[in-house]
């Protein structure tokens, strides 16, 4: 009998790889945003909203946030799997983290397209 825990890992390479790819995307976005902000002479409300009124900026910010949430899920899941041993408690925390991150996805769309 294969003894696998339902709230365990996927026993594979996929999450490991996604963790690195999402990290790279997020890092590049942060560097680009930081460079842009440094080049702006005075950053006020107008320049800030002008930056975020761009469709391309919407897309890349959303991509960044989605990468960030997936990255956070894998990271938090690993931490929970290391320190929380009872399967029931682990399941509850996992579900709460997933629901929170899904809510953040909806919230992000509202922020970017709704302001």
């Amino acid at each position: 009998m294969v003894n696998r825990v339902v709230v365990g890992a996927h026993y594979g390479l996929r999450d490991w790889l996604i963790q690195r790819i999402s990290a790279t995307v997020a890092a590049l976005y942060c560097l680009a945003l930081f460079a842009y902000l440094m080049l702006q002479p005075d950053m006020g409300y107008d320049a800030w909203t002008l930056l975020f009124s761009n469709q391309l900026m919407h897309a890349f910010t959303m991509l960044f946030l989605l990468c960030l949430y997936y990255h956070a899920w894998i990271g938090v899941r690993d931490i929970v799997m290391d320190y929380v041993k009872p399967a029931g408690v682990r399941l509850v925390i996992h579900v709460l983290v997933i629901l929170a991150l899904l809510l953040y996805v909806i919230w992000s769309v509202q922020i970017l397209w709704g302001f």
Binding site: A72, I79, W107
Partner: protein, 124 residues
Amino acid sequence: MNKQRPKHLALYLIKLPLPGIVSILHRVSGLLLFIALPLLLLMLQYSLRSIETYTELMGILAHPLSKLLLLGLLWAFLHHFCAGLRYLAIDLHWLGDLAQARNSSRAVMIVSLTLTVFAGVRLW
């Protein structure tokens, strides 16, 4: 080979090496950033929604306690960023031996802390 048993380890002499410290801080900073996510999203929302909420946010962020919180989160971000770059370098087999592992850990600590101090000076 006759080893002496039981073996008593001098636990007070055993210290977590620097790469281990960087590693656990990578975890801690990542968790902190995850916990701060709703706060960061709220800040983004306030900064974009209207000039009123933007001004309100700037007022809140001018408070010394907010600055302290912001600086803490900034450290978490910088440490997570730098340590993450180091892990990517390790994955690409750029850091081969123990000396490189230790030196790069030292570099992560120095760079992230220095940048945090710089940011702190700029914040105040």
